[in-house]
Symmetry: C2
Subunit: 341 residues, 2 copies
């Protein structure tokens, strides 16, 4: 939905890059953050946690108010060349095409079926809404969850030849563990689908479904053979992106986070809202500047189309002027994926 449903041009050469740089460092000073280099990003995280948990300090935060929020796509896992959920939608559309011969003649479906990625890059929001309605609605929540689970178990990323759930950033898993070990509750606050992410949030991130805030479509309470079900309707209910993120955090959590992690303009208001709370605050943006081990886009250049991750130069400058921390994938992360050696 919104920017999250914009599709980029598929990268050419870089999609074929298979070489994973080896990055071996020993003797990390903080074992909990073993995949982090000892640079400014790691130091900011450790200093923040120290402030929040120091009972004698003026920035001490009670455990019940230790809330940390994480954007998902591009912050916790790979969003290139396409958001994982969009990949699910396209796969499902192709599967359903046999039952819908009319799609061969109608946009936006025929573009997807022709694998015309450059045309998909220009899809409007209503195109994506049509795809969403065709692939994400008209079934119960339980059926939807089962479809997502099944797809995730078999689908693989074209570049890394890994299941999508293996493309999470190991350093971010460590940050979540580190925060939880220090009394924080970690939340996903994603522009992507809430019901989608809840399928795997516990197993992949250690985050229970009730701590996933995201975009949603309407559901309707109905009876099937006398049994109550929640039917997914082809109608957007809530868009948890941009200004929707503070709205969603207030709605679903009812507390303001003191730490927030993002990677794009869709996270800007989450950063602002977090910072405006006063006291100890940590705002961090992941910069994709590692074309060898992952991708480079946004201010780090590299890929020609930056629609996928709208980390604009303006956001970068704003982060610098407001004291939001930049996480350089290239410089701050020893290891990016758990399968990196």
């Amino acid at each position: 939905m919104n920017d999250h449903w914009k599709i980029p041009k598929l990268p050419g050469a870089s999609a074929a890059v298979m070489f994973l740089a080896l990055s071996i460092h020993a003797n990390a000073q903080t074992p909990e953050l073993a995949s982090w280099n000892d640079g400014p990003a790691k130091q900011a995280i450790v200093a923040f946690v120290k402030e929040v948990t120091d009972k004698s300090g003026i920035k001490y935060v009670e455990p019940q108010d230790r809330i940390a929020t994480f954007d998902q796509d591009g912050t916790l896992w790979v969003e290139h060349p396409l958001y994982t959920q969009a990949m699910f939608a396209l796969t499902r559309l192709r599967e359903l095409a046999a039952q819908h011969p009319e799609w061969e003649q109608s946009e936006p479906f025929k573009i997807v079926l022709a694998n015309d990625y450059s045309a998909m890059a220009n899809f409007s929001e209503s195109d994506w809404t049509a795809i969403l309605a065709a692939t994400h609605a008209g079934m119960t929540t339980e059926t939807f969850q089962a479809l997502v689970k099944q797809w995730l178990a078999t689908a693989k990323d074209a570049r890394f030849h890994q299941p999508y759930t293996a493309l999470v950033y190991q350093p971010m898993l460590e940050v979540m563990d580190y925060l939880r070990a220090n009394g924080f509750r970690t939340y996903i606050v994603t522009g992507g689908g809430q019901e989608f992410a809840r399928v795997y949030s516990q197993s992949v991130y250690g985050i229970p479904p009730e701590q996933v805030v995201g975009s949603s479509i309407q559901t309707k309470y109905e009876y099937q053979d006398g049994k109550p079900v929640l039917m997914r309707e082809p109608k957007v209910f809530f868009v948890d992106d941009n200004a929707g993120k503070p709205v969603g955090m207030n709605l679903f959590i009812g507390k303001r986070p003191c730490a927030a992690f993002g990677n794009s303009t869709g996270d800007k208001q989450m950063m602002e809202w977090t910072q405006a709370g006063g006291g100890a605050r940590l705002m961090m943006l992941v910069l994709h500047d590692d074309p060898v081990r992952e991708y480079a886009y946004g201010p780090a250049g590299g890929l020609p189309d930056t629609k996928v991750g709208t980390f604009t130069q303006a956001l970068y400058d704003e982060a610098k002027s407001r004291g939001w921390n930049i996480i350089s994938m290239k410089n701050d992360w020893k290891r990016i994926f758990s399968f990196d050696k």
Copy 2:
């Protein structure tokens, strides 16, 4: 909103009943449920918890899935003669009247200002929406929370001469403690306002704001003097009542409860949804059948107007046929309020 915003006729004589029956029983078998008589309701609760927590049993439930949901008005605290939040709305309307001389001439405001409760009893949903817009919107979430807090600190119920937050049912506080001691997370799932209940949920019920699911109005992310705020808009966003309760539970919790407590037709679908999950299940409805210590309405008769708590005879019969437990305030509760001796 919806049924929750229907207003009853003010009871005549019973509103003046001040006598609180003394009910002293010693040696309760389960200390955690000290205010419960040892009847079928208490036995159902204890048997359910035993099943859920018995690791060797077939109905064992993992702690992360032990979710119990509680309706608020009429289930956790007194809803008669009017929901507490409606009382707040009317008080606030009267306070604001000086700045709105036009209200003297326009419905529904002039009816409220004339204290015409019998006319209020016939208010339509759009009347209540107008009152809601005038009293609950046009301010930031922080301002709203401060107003609620301030009002709750001073307002008192006319019959009991107690703050509204003292009119919670002691046996229900004990059930929540008992469930939490057995690994459950307790949620409020109310047709009333989510932001309203979050103001006092922690101090009154021991339930943190993030475990309060309720009705909500739209909020808008804005800037005031460069500082981000969430403005409350005069537009309903979500109605967490009737079929909205399963929708809300799926949306906000993402897990199906295995125990649910309610007291009216607004809770029927919550009961159905809870029961349909299979395994150990506990569905309980509070019956207001104690005109001496609290009120009697619904199938227990008593008050002439049952709009306030729509525990219909049909719901009572359905509960009996489906195995939902009835909690008789008169017979199952030794003590109703903490101030009862």
